[in-house]
């Protein structure tokens, strides 16, 4: 009796430690990120850092304005969403509502396999295949630009959006689909007027998590966005999203120098943005669950 209680407690504690480990590591990384990032604000104001239009960290005197980098990140993320959201959501609708079981067996793993492509492979594909094609089609000086990066990021976001969307559609109660069909609605009317509205919060979560994936992605934007730290004026301009800037410059930034701190501060900004995306996704998911139980 006593021995088994001791064992029970030991097991419980063991699992607790394992579970806490990830929280502790997360906390340590966040603390480190802020500790290394915040010193830059002794040199530049938060306002100048976020809204400054010039990023010349190695010039003399240096300019630490990351506004072009933020714009670069936001633009490629939004454009990749424009591409990935319809593709991701509609493929989920097809897989969940329309496809026969054989088609489903082929499509579902294929979409999930897309997620298993290493980002460097996608970046490579963007550089070698997509860039020359864009250059030729649109007669532009370089194919390494906002559009290319957005297409590649969309490829990475589609599996996330598609599989979460499919779960959301799958979670809509069968009774709702039947109720709609029984009222004489066609399959398309049922999908567009009942299934999609009922799954809307789940679909929003899918989109936000897809965006969060796109905005934090580094390798692809490093390889195909073109790298110019200027505010892009068209989708054919090169840009330099935040993760690309950090990855490209960190190795050459002097340890604990201003440039180094500025890159960490950029990391803080990026972290805040992805955190915000995830919090919003969580909030929507929580609300969705509430409605779910109220339905029962």
């Amino acid at each position: 009796m006593n021995a088994s209680t001791t064992k029970e407690t030991a097991i419980k504690t063991g699992f607790l430690v394992v579970a806490l480990a990830s929280i502790v590591i997360l906390a340590m990384i966040v603390v480190f990120l802020f500790r290394e990032g915040l010193p830059i604000f002794r040199k530049v104001s938060v306002r100048d850092f976020l809204l400054g239009r010039y990023w010349y960290p190695t010039a003399d005197p240096p300019d630490f304005g990351i506004f072009p980098l933020i714009v670069g990140s936001v633009v490629v993320t939004l454009l990749s969403c424009v591409i990935a959201v319809p593709l991701g959501v509609l493929s989920a609708v097809y897989v969940s509502e329309i496809a026969g079981s054989r088609m489903k067996e082929i499509l579902k793993p294929a979409i999930e396999l897309l997620a298993s492509l290493p980002s460097v492979v996608i970046g490579f594909f963007g550089m070698v295949v997509v860039a020359p094609t864009l250059q030729e089609w649109f007669d532009i000086p370089t194919g390494l630009n906002v559009l290319n990066a957005s297409i590649m990021l969309a490829l990475m976001a589609i599996p996330t959006i598609s599989s979460i969307s499919e779960d959301a559609l799958h979670g809509v109660r069968r009774e709702l689909r039947e109720a709609s069909l029984a009222l004489g609605a066609t399959r398309w009317e049922t999908i567009s007027r009942v299934m999609i509205p009922a799954a809307l919060s789940g679909l929003s979560t899918a989109v936000i998590l897809g965006m969060s994936r796109a905005i934090g992605e580094t390798m692809v934007v490093l390889m195909v966005a073109g790298g110019a730290a200027a505010i892009p004026e068209s989708i054919f301009d090169a840009c330099r999203p935040m993760p690309a800037s950090i990855a490209a410059e960190m190795a050459e930034a002097p340890f604990r120098g201003d440039h180094y701190h500025a890159l960490f501060a950029t990391g803080v900004v990026l972290f805040m943005m992805t955190l915000a995306f995830n919090l919003v996704a969580d909030m929507i998911a929580a609300k969705y669950k509430q409605v779910g139980t109220a339905t029962l």
């Binding site: 709702l176 109720a179 069909l181 004489g184 609605a185 509205p197 409605v291 109220a294």
Partner: protein
């Protein structure tokens, strides 16, 4: 077999893949009558009901043999539009299943997909349907709220209103009160009795007393076969089959 039947099946069998769920069922439903389908769990009552508006079509691997007639026309013919059949043969499900929409939009759904756009007409039809389903007084001040905030019994009456809104000729009800408390059940039963004047109602029920209270005719199904069908009072007082009697008196099932 009466030719004036609103709906009837002739030698109808139904398969889920290879397994036969219904065998050779012939039954006629007269217009403006309530018919109860009773029988033990798994006897095929719900499956039978769902063959009458082709709801089983959405389950892969199912197959119907024999005929199902609506006003003398087979509903499984190749040139028949299944959407049209479901418009004429409405259905109310076991669990209340309101859409995650406002009460108004829920009831208006079937009208809108038929292309009715005029606000005034929509409103009038929704009001009439909610009144016919005896739920108007309880929801008239909250038409723009979600039906999910209503009680189960109220939700079910909204679902009935939704089915009535599109003016079906036949109304199929699959244990519409089984998820409800006794008071809500009583309201649904009163409603069914009131609706009998205008609709042909076919109701699946587990509850023998309910069948006795609300139906004109009762059919007893057992193991996918129709054992006996007749006037409700006859079935409950002088069933001609031993098995029906055993079931009704609670000896099995």
């Amino acid at each position: 077999m009466s030719t004036s039947a609103k709906m009837e099946t002739r030698n109808m069998s139904f398969y889920y893949g290879e397994s036969k769920a219904l065998e050779n069922i012939s039954i006629a439903f007269q217009a403006c009558r309530v018919t109860s389908l009773i029988g033990p769990s798994g006897c095929g009552k719900s499956t039978f009901l769902r063959t009458l508006n082709r709801m089983n079509d959405i389950i892969a691997g199912t197959r119907v043999e024999g005929e199902v007639l609506l006003d003398g026309r087979s509903i499984y013919d190749a040139d028949v539009d299944v959407v049209d059949i479901r418009r004429r043969v409405g259905m109310v499900f076991q669990k209340p299943n309101p859409f995650p929409k406002t009460i108004f939009n829920d009831v208006a759904y079937g009208l809108r997909i038929r292309g009715l756009r005029n606000r005034t007409e929509l409103y009038d039809r929704v009001e009439a349907s909610l009144k016919a389903a005896a739920i108007w007084d309880e929801v008239k001040d909250r038409l723009n709220e979600s039906a999910l905030g209503l009680s189960g019994g109220q939700q079910q009456r909204v679902c009935i209103a939704r089915a009535l809104a599109v003016e079906p000729e036949v109304l199929l009800m699959d244990e519409p009160a089984s998820a409800l408390d006794p008071i809500a059940t009583q309201k649904i039963e009163e409603l069914i009795r009131a609706l009998r004047d205008r609709y042909t109602i076919i109701i699946v029920t587990h509850n023998m007393q309910q069948a006795a209270r609300i139906s004109d005719e009762t059919a007893f199904l057992y193991m996918g076969k129709l054992v006996e069908v007749g006037k409700t009072d006859m079935i409950f007082t002088k069933p001609s089959c031993r098995r029906t009697e055993d079931y009704i008196t609670g000896r099995f099932g």
